[in-house]
Symmetry: C2
Subunit: 341 residues, 2 copies
């Protein structure tokens, strides 16, 4: 089961959709981004193709992560709806997971069908058959110098309609401007290769808007890209490429890991990381749109596995002005355009 953020929530909620009458017609995902020309192909076939690609991508990501951090221990958890693979106690990553979920021939509840119809402008009936597939991952770094990376891709198919969603975003403990420029540049380049001229800017904004804690007036991290309800003909290839790039040696993330992984850090810096992880939990449990109605006895561990391993909470832990911690908060409060578009 896909365990992170919106993806985990969507799929967990779909997984219980048949059993539950309490689903509310809340949007599971950020507002649809602009929709490009529709691909009217054989949905089942392209679904199978995507599902197969996602399985391969999971294997590749796990192999890459094992190579990068051979000290981590791994738990592989096959279940009826996919395969959750959990990393713990590595030198680079303290906790993480890379999971695939596959739902075939699910049956849409009335509420869910109406929600999807409303969101996508299509007309989908209750009881319709759907399929969904997702890969999602999170990597919580041990060092406060190395950021957390989260990402996912998903496809949702009803009849001939299929929608793609996903994203990749970075959550540093300390904002490093060069890292942010590097990270966003790589994502912008990918968007420019596959999408339209405004794809990166739109997806960057959607990401900033989604990973936001309104009561803190803080964004969770420095963003990345996030998209949903995407029917563009380039959506499947873009989605696969995004995940393929995630842990690439020359991708958005691994150069940042290599740059910082062996840097020394202090106890005070580690403590600041644990406090920032408190915000990560706050976001996941309070704001992630689907967590609450995706939460069932079967899904709770798979939804909450994205939690960091160790987290601190402190009353009004506001950093002193002029400190690196305060500089980081300033960026989280006012997202920047890291890449000129």
């Amino acid at each position: 089961m896909a365990p992170h953020g919106a993806t985990a929530s969507l799929l967990a909620s779909l997984a219980v959709a048949k059993a539950s009458l309490t689903l509310v017609p809340t949007l599971l995902m950020p507002a649809a981004i602009e929709i490009a020309p529709t691909l009217h192909g054989p949905a089942a076939t392209s679904f199978e193709t995507f599902a197969s690609a996602v399985n391969d991508l999971q294997k590749k990501m796990i192999a890459t992560a094992k190579l990068a951090d051979p000290t981590a221990s791994w738990t592989e958890d096959e279940h009826s709806r996919g395969r959750a693979v959990i990393l713990e106690d590595g030198e680079i990553w303290e906790k993480g997971c890379i999971s695939v979920t596959l739902i075939k021939d699910g049956e849409l509840s009335a509420v869910r069908a109406s929600t999807i119809s409303g969101r996508t402008g299509t007309s989908i009936e209750a009881g319709s058959s759907y399929s969904a597939c997702a890969l999602s991952f999170v990597l919580h770094a041990r060092s406060p110098r190395v950021p957390t990376l989260r990402g996912d891709v998903r496809v949702f198919v009803v009849g001939d309609d299929q929608w793609y969603g996903g994203g990749i975003d970075l959550t540093p403990t300390y904002v490093d401007e060069a890292d942010c420029i590097h990270f966003h540049s790589k994502l912008a380049a990918l968007c420019n290769t596959h999408g339209t001229p405004d794809t990166y800017a739109t997806m960057k904004q959607t990401c900033d808007e989604y990973f936001y804690l309104p009561a803190r007036a803080e964004h969770r991290g420095v963003g990345g890209v996030f998209f949903d309800d995407l029917k563009a003909d380039w959506a499947p290839e873009f989605s696969r490429s995004l995940i393929n790039l995630a842990l690439d040696d020359d991708g958005p993330y691994m150069p940042i890991v290599r740059k910082h992984a062996s840097c020394q850090y202090t106890d005070a810096e580690k403590k600041w990381q644990l406090l920032r992880r408190g915000r990560y939990i706050e976001f996941n449990l309070l704001y992630d749109r689907g967590v609450k109605f995706g939460l069932s006895p079967e899904s709770v561990e798979r939804v909450l596995v994205s939690s960091p391993p160790l987290v601190a909470f402190k009353y009004k832990a506001e950093p002193m002005a002029g400190t690196p911690e305060a500089e980081t908060l300033a960026v989280l409060r006012h997202p920047r355009d890291w890449v000129k578009t």
Copy 2:
């Protein structure tokens, strides 16, 4: 501002009720327990009396806690709606707070008025003036041998109507049967002194039902008493006595603290405590009825101050059968009647 559980949530939500149109007609509190004969007195006066008592009780609790754990550092935070007093880094308690909230002449939103009318069977109009006062506290122990204690009392006044609510409950890392019997016996005795013959049993059941994580099928702790919408003539005195007893030398909690505070514990036991605290956070952020709509930029720290200081999350951290951890979980999954009634 009262920072814990239902109380924090209620008061935080009331505090923003005027400003927000997004309040939903969710019950903030557990179902009303049986209502005894109403006290038709001068509500304003008894409100002032209760508010004054609550201020004195806060001072007394702080003095008692300082005496019991002189190494802790304290932060006193006066704000427009009361006084939050936070304890950190003590030898006995790693984090805690003892807070008072006072709202006078608030104005009820339409949604809120209709919710209260529905719950209490009264007819309260939008725009009615209300007052509310609460004391709430939580003490997160350092040692996994010493349980966490949480409690609150609150009064809510509209015109001549006043409703009392509150409770005290225990969240141990390891269930100790003798502790549970002691804790519940003291609360049962208090209920028997002030209430009716079924008061303890009703309040114990309300508490078990409220502090419950449905997706885990676990209760958060071993319970205690919890009550709401109580209009009995004994409600004010009972509420005050409950808080007065909370940290009493011979009360429900302090004998348990004295018994275990100097016991040795292992790293593995501390780790189990941190994992149980993960459930504490899960409850507070996912299930506490008012947290989400009580959450505003002004209230977020006061609501979330009840979070433990350090928390761990681990995928499927199910203890081995036959271990003390498994025995504790068995009790949390099937609440017991600790006191014969």
